[in-house]
Symmetry: C2
Subunit: 554 residues, 2 copies
């Protein structure tokens, strides 16, 4: 049996190697349009930044290596331009020689990935996407040609503040380049909710990035790029990371079913509507774990996994793919930003009821030096207590907590159930009540009705309706910064000073929500109508900053 694979990187090569392990006799041919296979796409930005110094370390395998170990017939610089499903052949052009031929297959795997759109900014300055080995060669050559020093830095515009845009910004900066980040929307990193993205913006500004929100590139002039905000920005190069789309033209032309977003439709065994044609990776629709709908999650983990799964299907031992959560992580200078499941914005857009929890725990026991504070957000179904999504922004330990929540979501552990997880604790690694357990406690209190919360963006309206805001932090904390108009009544004096409180509905708050919870419990039992400001002063401040934009940052 002969399997032809189109695309020789994450999904395609994972399918090829697994298929060989399953079937020593199979004929396996891989066509890759580019000059490299099995390369580490995800490492490309870090080569630009000089973190990864050996270009060769990005090339995890070569056609020769793959032939020796896996007896794969890997042909680089071979472009597939058409699929003939009736005759089961693909039309291939050898880009080196220019010759074209038809290659027969018994089974076909499409692993063609995603592609950037037409590059914006072109003509104003050399413009690149950041997706291939060729891209990083061009980017580094351009920077080297301009030369960049502390006194005469090269300058760049990065378009798009998504995963790759943010990694591009960080790594250009690392290389000494002055960077303007142009983002169409009102916030950076739109997978996050605004108040969670606010520390990311602050981090960018703190590292000298010129961030332009609600801005696009209007046109290219000889002096530079004209932005929609009217400014002219000179740039030695432009990196367009403004988005990708599934590379599914080949599939479409062959009459394979596509979804609305252009992704190839496959069943849980990675099979398209043609039983001999499989598809995996960034070009393919996944099943969303929350609502079972179609989703485009363009992540390497899924591409690798589904590549392996396609091989299993072809070898006759199929097993169904798990739905996709969309777990993801990105480093932004000293911050780690991670998420899984749905955001609040997406839940709101889908009109799906949800409860929101913000906490700001320390990465490990605060009595042990070096703990870093993180911001956590959990989205919960108020009826079933099911976890709908999570976002975490901080330093150390962010990756651990997002993974734990992702596993909990996969397994159907409820939000309150997080409180009972038995996680590893010693003071340099976590807390006796781990951040995961603590957010579980908060969820438990809200679910059981023991606590009632109000969100940062609901505060203004509540106060207009007459609710009084009590800040239960110490007077020193209050002096260092507080919500305008809040009454300061430190929690440790609260019981003695209950008679100073107005007999109206109250909102209490502290720095992060924890003392607020204890204060609210106390007040409610003394007959007051009290709610806790979720996430405390820190979430409120991040929320307000997200409304204000870059001006308030830094």
């Amino acid at each position: 049996m002969k399997t032809v694979i189109i695309g020789g990187v994450a999904g395609g090569m994972s399918a090829a190697t697994r298929l060989r392990r399953l079937d020593e006799e199979a004929t396996i041919v891989v066509f890759e349009r580019g000059g490299y296979v099995s390369f580490a796409n995800c490492g490309l930005p870090y080569f630009v930044g000089g973190v990864i110094t050996e270009r060769s370390s990005l090339l995890l395998q070569t056609p020769d290596g793959l032939a020796a170990r896996f007896r794969l017939d890997v042909r680089i610089r071979h472009d597939v331009s058409a699929i003939d499903r009736v005759n089961r052949t693909v039309r291939v052009t050898d880009l080196s020689s220019g010759t074209t031929f038809d290659e027969p297959y018994d089974r076909l795997i499409l692993a063609t990935g995603a592609a950037a759109g037409d590059l914006e900014g072109a003509a104003g300055a050399p413009t690149f996407s950041l997706r291939t080995i060729d891209d990083i060669d061009h980017i580094t050559a351009t920077i080297d040609a301009v030369g960049t020093t502390a006194t005469a830095p090269a300058s760049a515009i990065v378009i798009g503040a998504g995963f790759i845009g943010l990694e591009a910004v960080e790594n250009l900066r690392r290389r000494g380049v002055q960077v303007t980040l142009v983002q169409r929307g009102p916030q950076v990193f739109s997978p996050l909710d605004p108040e969670m993205a606010s520390p990311v913006l602050r981090e960018l500004v703190a590292h000298g990035i010129d961030v332009r929100l609600n801005t696009t590139v209007a046109s290219a002039t000889a002096e530079g790029l004209l932005l929609s905000d009217g400014s002219l920005v000179r740039a030695d190069l432009v990196i367009d990371a403004s988005g990708v789309h599934p590379q599914s033209e080949l599939a479409a032309a062959a009459g394979l079913a596509l979804g609305e977003s252009g992704g190839i439709v496959v069943d849980e065994f990675q099979r398209t509507n043609d039983p001999d044609v499989y598809a995996v990776g960034d070009g393919v629709l996944k099943v969303d774990s929350l609502d079972g709908g179609d989703t485009l999650v363009t992540m390497a983990g899924l591409a690798n996994r589904h590549g392996r799964a396609a091989a299993d299907s072809i070898a006759g031992t199929p097993h169904p793919a798990a739905p996709a959560l969309g777990t993801a992580i990105v480093g932004v200078f000293d911050l780690t930003v991670a998420l899984t499941g749905w955001s609040e914005s997406r839940l709101v857009a889908a009109n799906r009821s949800h409860r929101v929890i913000h906490t700001h725990p320390a990465s490990h026991a605060s009595y042990y030096p070096g703990a870093e504070q993180m911001a956590m957000k959990l989205l919960v179904d108020p009826d079933t207590d099911r976890i709908l999504g999570a976002q975490i922004v901080g330093g150390q330990g962010v990756d651990k907590r997002i993974d734990v929540i992702a596993v909990a979501m996969t397994a159907g552990i409820t939000a309150s159930g997080l409180k009972d997880l038995e996680l590893a604790y010693a003071p340099q690694y976590g807390s006796a009540k781990d951040p995961i357990n603590q957010i579980g406690y908060v969820a438990d209190n809200l679910h059981s009705g023991l606590g009632r919360n109000i969100q940062w963006h609901e505060l203004e309206q509540a106060r207009e309706a007459g609710t009084v805001l009590i800040d239960v932090r110490t007077s020193a904390e209050f002096s260092a910064g507080h919500i305008p108009g809040a009454l300061n009544l430190p929690i440790d004096e609260l019981r003695e000073r209950l008679d100073e409180l107005p007999l109206t509905s109250l909102i209490v708050h502290c720095q992060v929500g924890q003392r607020g919870h204890t204060a609210a419990r106390m007040l409610v039992q003394h007959g007051f109508d009290a709610r806790n400001l979720d996430g405390g002063y820190l979430t409120w401040r991040a929320g307000i900053a997200s409304v204000a934009g870059p001006a308030l940052q830094g």
Copy 2:
């Protein structure tokens, strides 16, 4: 309603604060024998080592602070010597004044923790346990009095290479003290299986610790301590960390039910056999998550959680405790050692069938600098594919992976199911196939029968029976160290050299098991009877070293 709590640290104080949040009117009295409450037991070793510099940072709360915030009546230096269950009173001695009185209760919570046994080594040198604030005051004063410098270091004997013993060793060393570690059993850190403990021993030896396995303190002489191996070791101080037992004498005297191991028996709501008496923490038996039997897990997370749960029970909103996995972690110099569930030794002792998997993945993508290799071990039920336990030893990322496995175990995710977990990946945090996914793949292959493994300790017998061992690593790797008598046939040449292989049963191996898997798949399909040496050369080497003891380390 009046609740009296005996013991004012992890379990006791968590119960007290939660109870106050649930019931503002309750009378809550806490008796603590020692001079401090709410202190960070787990931080004590790091104060000895000077990592934690502020003694006050270990005191998370004070009686005054707890009175102000939670209206708790906390009495330090108050020892409870008897419980009168008929009259519902406890007999209390105020250790400061010497007066004794009876305190009535409606509900009683025992949170008396665990205690060290009689201290070994006494008389030969000042001998301490490492459990309280007083202990660290005495230990640091003793070291300061002796003085310790690079040329004239103080010397110490630590008895017991468990969690606290290892933390004591590391922190004494950090302070410049010369340490002899005396361990009764044949390996350090007995919760690990021998081959997993072997890198821990290597780490201790590399940091200049004199480790004596299979050794006890025989007697104390004026010149020092005489060990069972016949040697005399001079020591300025001795830390006895040779084990603890539940502090349940009070409960026993009051006729409360105890288990065989001396732990107090409670139901899933933390209630003893007296419905008015609850018990939590190190003194209490937990339900083992694997076999449902009694287990003593003396961990702060469970003490805190069960303390909170006892308060919920008393307040009338009981919820059942989750069974205990025994997840734990400890830092040993530059190593992190973590585990959850059962070890192979324990499974063998219980005659419970199990499958063993060893891997040695990198903490993050190996093309991104700074990745650290870890050793992972997974124990799996061969019939059901259930995860029975895990052990991980390495650097970065060990804590994350043990937590993910602990959550998977709690949720009933199978070993093969680990392959489908959607974990956060960017190159500085993980791999597109995370170590968790990879060990899931290995489990999947063994479960489906696609792969067959053999363990390091089974190798000798198999070879005596005529099986031939093929090392499929490169010749450079082979030259750098190999298993005696192995035939070197690099994987990338294997297909061409099949005719060089003997037609007998084969074992293949590589460095960690990964190439061995590909090689075994190839050979099996070419008609050979081939198994893969689980964990490869690295696990074999660690296993052999664990048999050889400290002599082979370093």
